[in-house]
């Protein structure tokens, strides 16, 4: 295949320290293909590679809004039913437990209210107060009421 340098007017090989023989050998060694068909092919390969590499990303980043319906159509309805039944059972259980707790709380509150609102009995006060009102001769009055 013919080869050529990628020379666009640069001063390759003319720098003072360069050895012309080595530079010539290097040029032969590193020469790029000169055929136009090669470059057209490479351009095609590059664009195909870009297209292949980026198309997957675009699909991944931008899912269509209707793709959810497709997934729903493909779904296994038996599995969906089982999941729904399990969820319903869990919800019912949770409601039952919550009701039981609510009733227990109400009972507790009622009992506490009954205890806290009741008046305390003034046991000592009642007794001493009653005695304070009795006169010292009360037993005598009780035993001989006609004398008073």
């Amino acid at each position: 295949m013919n080869v050529t340098r990628n020379d666009d007017g640069r001063s390759a090989g003319r720098s003072p320290g360069a050895d012309p023989t080595v530079t010539a050998a290097l040029r032969a060694q590193y020469a790029a293909p000169s055929s136009e068909a090669y470059w057209e092919g490479l351009e095609g390969s590059i664009m195909r590679r870009i297209s292949a590499a980026t198309s997957g990303v675009v699909r991944e980043l931008r899912p269509s809004w209707w793709s959810g319906f497709t997934e729903l159509r493909r779904a296994d309805w038996g599995a969906v039913g089982m999941i729904a039944a399990t969820l319903a059972l869990l919800a019912a259980g949770a409601t039952f437990v919550r009701d039981q707790q609510a009733h227990a709380n109400a009972r507790d509150l009622a009992a506490r209210a009954a205890v806290e609102t009741a008046m305390p009995l003034p046991i000592d006060g009642t007794l001493t107060g009653a005695r304070r009102h009795l006169s010292p001769d009360a037993p005598e009055r009780y035993l001989n009421p006609l004398d008073y």
Binding site: M1, R10, A12, G13, V22, A32, L42, M47, R49, I50
Partner: protein, 187 residues
């Protein structure tokens, strides 16, 4: 403050291609590929050892450039930006190749894009001499002496200071001269 340099029609045309490609026009990006693939190949070929690896590096480089196109500012030189990306892709391939070849037979001579029947003593010796150079020094001497890039341009492509490119070139030339000296004395 100096006057602004007039922008050439080629640069304007390229800028339009870049803007169109950034807007999602793949035909415009194909136009950029057509314009730059030869020099991209030259940059890649200076770094890797074979034509096939250079081709791979060019394709990888354009793919990376396409993906990063949104971040490119159109007022910059597209070629310089692209060459840096292709050089990085080529360096990556060269490193992977080095690791792979470490377990295989030492058959990593530079493979030129020509019929093996055309090979001669100088080419074989040069290939061996180039293989003993570091990949950066080899890239520098090829980019400078074969492709005609200036030290500053080489520095920008390979991501090294201009002075390093200059010093690498000096060492690479001296190395090749030493390696090929007995060949000349024989002939």
């Amino acid at each position: 403050m100096g006057a602004e340099r007039p922008v050439s029609p080629e640069v304007l045309e390229e800028r339009e291609l870049v803007l169109a490609a950034q807007a999602g026009d793949n035909v415009a990006f194909a136009g950029l590929v057509r314009r730059h693939q030869r020099r991209a190949y030259a940059v890649a070929r200076a770094i890797v050892l074979s034509h096939d690896d250079a081709e791979d590096a060019v394709q990888e480089g354009f793919l990376h450039a396409f993906r990063a196109l949104e971040r490119f500012r159109p007022e910059q030189a597209f070629g310089a930006w692209l060459h840096r990306i292709v050089a990085n892709a080529a360096l990556d391939i060269a490193r992977r190749r080095k690791v792979r070849d470490a377990d295989e037979l030492p058959e990593t001579l530079s493979k030129p894009h020509k019929d093996p029947a055309e090979s001669d003593e100088l080419r074989v010796r040069l290939s061996r001499a180039l293989d003993t150079l570091g990949e950066r020094q080899r890239a520098v001497i090829v980019l400078h002496d074969v492709e005609g890039y200036k030290h500053a341009e080489i520095g920008a492509i390979l991501g090294i200071p201009e002075g390093t490119a200059r010093s690498d070139l000096h060492h690479a030339r001296a190395h090749l001269r030493r390696q090929l000296s007995n060949l000349r004395s024989e002939s």
